[in-house]
């Protein structure tokens, strides 16, 4: 098979991943729990961290990108899998209402549509994305980013009474 998948037992791999990140980047926070390595990095370091993951550590699969609107800041989660039992989660927070972050499409080409979706739903601008158009919503005549907390839906159910 032409694709090299990682070998060895899970614990050694997890510590190798964590060491790999720690050695080359300023990691703000890290956690190893079960089959998961979680690192928190600054938004400007993120493309470099993912480059390390792909090129040096050989983590092949970007599973998804989640954006969470924290009302004032945006939390981004990049979930990576080495396809053999280990999860690597890279988290970053962008301050402000107009989030901008470097694109990782050059590192993980699959990020193309994930980033388009994040842009569509949250207005996160990915610097260096080859084709940053909306994925689901109308291309024009629509100025909103629907998953922002400020975008109220008309038939909103709040369950205020239960809280």
């Amino acid at each position: 098979m032409a694709v090299t998948l990682p070998e060895g037992n899970l614990e050694t791999r997890l510590s190798r991943y964590l060491d790999g990140f720690n050695n080359s980047h300023g990691i703000e926070d890290s956690l190893v729990e079960g089959d998961l390595v979680q690192v928190v990095v600054g938004p400007e370091d993120l493309p470099a961290v993912l480059t390390t993951a792909r090129e040096t550590l050989g983590i092949l699969h970007l599973s998804f990108i989640t954006v969470v609107d924290r009302q004032g800041s945006f939390e981004l989660t990049y979930e990576l899998l080495d396809l053999r039992g280990a999860q690597v989660r890279v988290k970053t927070t962008i301050e402000g209402d107009e989030p901008v972050i470097g694109s990782v499409t050059g590192i993980y080409p699959t990020a193309n549509w994930h980033e388009r979706e994040a842009y569509d739903m949250f207005g996160v601008a990915f610097r260096g994305h080859p084709d940053l158009r909306r994925l689901y919503m109308w291309q024009d005549h629509f100025d909103h980013h629907p998953l922002l907390k400020s975008f109220e839906i008309s038939t909103r159910r709040t369950f205020e009474g239960l809280r």
């Binding site: 098979m1 699969h61 599973s63 998804f64 969470v68 039992g85 080409p109 549509w113 919503m137």
Partner: protein, 394 residues
């Protein structure tokens, strides 16, 4: 005869895109130009509502740009505005061909944040229903592939099987399609009296019917080979690069199955193989799907042989308020890796739910693989991905 013709085509197909296009010099000389064409959103052969913007050079596709969103129902926004248990029926409608996996992924994600123990019987029943759901999705998808190639009979056989499984599901869950069966902490109800025997009987029958009704009908058929062999061919590197999962990845030879490599629930106790194929074309995806149906049958038999007893519902308390934090779970749906990311702020409703649907990601290969193919090859390639409109649009 047809197969022979294709063999010469195969060599051309593996050449780079530019090699297959009309010679630019000749094109300029005769004033030929490429044309843009819309395929869809409403197209009789399309798997739902999808618009493909195609640039054609003669009958060869130069550029393929999928436009999605025609069935976008904003599942993620709806999920943010409902209480945790009320999100489960919403997830049912994401991938309506394989609903059980959608419920299962969401429940696993929330259960990561809940302090609840899932009874072993509930775990086993979840895996059992998931495998039935997978068969229910894989077999019609073979039928759709053949329908797109012009063979009408297989879809009738496929839907006969789907209807029979639906009748079993109806007896267990109360619904034929939108089950709402897997709940936070367990499953809605135990299997009815005599159900394991009934399931066993059906599975034995399906195993016997698989060869005469599907494999004999499809495999070796000249038209099928001519339309699928070498079509949509991709290398394992390309497949991994595009983030494919599920059958499109496994048909290139990369062994990755969430059930095997990130085991969850009852799958830890089951013995099964990951079906792979080396060809990486549409025909290989067909072989993978048949192989996976066989593995599902094997798993269902194992579960039914050792079905544990006891309760089917863990104690979640009356009000479900998961702890603050991230709950991420992934399951192997019929189309690939389905992951759910639930962010909780400690209240009754999720703060954010993100669904990673395999179809959305797998559809990126339309952009990458279709250029260089003939226009009629798009439909078999869609059969390779086997997308579901509800799943790619969320």
């Amino acid at each position: 005869m047809l197969g022979e013709e294709r063999k010469t085509e195969e060599t051309t197909l593996s050449q780079p895109v530019s090699g297959r296009l009309a010679n630019p010099d000749i094109r300029d000389e005769f004033g030929l130009e490429t044309i843009d064409m819309n395929m869809g959103p409403q197209h009789p052969a399309m798997h739902g509502l999808l618009r493909l913007i195609l640039e054609l050079d003669g009958e060869t596709v130069v550029r393929c740009d999928p436009v999605m969103g025609y069935l976008h129902r904003s599942k993620e926004k709806i999920s943010e505005n409902r209480m945790y248990p009320a999100v489960i029926p919403i997830t049912d409608r994401i991938d309506y061909m394989n609903n059980m996996a959608m419920e299962y992924g969401y429940c696993l994600a929330v259960e990561k944040l809940l302090d609840v123990e899932i009874p072993p019987r509930a775990d086993a029943i979840r895996a059992l229903m998931n495998e039935f759901s997978r068969i229910m999705s894989h077999i019609p998808s073979l039928g759709f592939l053949l329908l797109e190639l012009g063979a009408f009979t297989p879809i009738l056989y496929a839907f006969r099987e789907r209807e029979r499984i639906q009748s079993i599901m109806e007896e267990v869950t109360g619904a034929r399609m939108m089950f709402h069966y897997i709940r936070l902490g367990g499953v809605k109800a135990d299997l009815p009296e005599g159900m394991p025997e009934k399931m066993w009987e059906y599975i034995e029958g399906l195993e016997n019917r698989l060869q005469p009704d599907f494999i004999d009908l499809i495999e070796g058929n000249e038209i099928f080979i001519a339309r699928t062999r070498g079509v949509g061919k991709m290398s394992p590197e390309k497949a991994v690069e595009m983030g494919l999962t599920g059958v499109p990845l496994r048909c290139t030879g990369v062994e990755f199955d969430v059930r095997k490599h990130y085991p969850y629930g009852w799958y830890k106790n089951l013995d099964f193989d990951v079906v792979t194929d080396d060809a990486g074309d549409v025909e290989a995806s067909y072989r993978c799907r048949i192989g996976e149906v066989r593995q599902s049958i094997r798993m269902i038999k194992q579960i039914l042989e050792n079905l544990p007893g006891g309760e089917v519902m863990g104690d979640t308390g009356r009000r479900i308020r998961p702890a603050e934090g991230d709950g991420i779970a992934r399951v192997e749906s019929a189309r690939g890796e389905y992951a759910v990311h639930v962010v909780s702020d400690g209240s009754d409703t999720p703060y954010r739910v993100h669904y990673r649907t395999p179809c959305t990601v797998n559809m990126q290969l339309l952009q990458e693989i279709v250029p260089g193919h003939y226009l009629p090859d798009i439909m078999p390639i869609m059969g390779l991905i086997d997308p579901v409109s509800g799943a790619w649009d969320k």
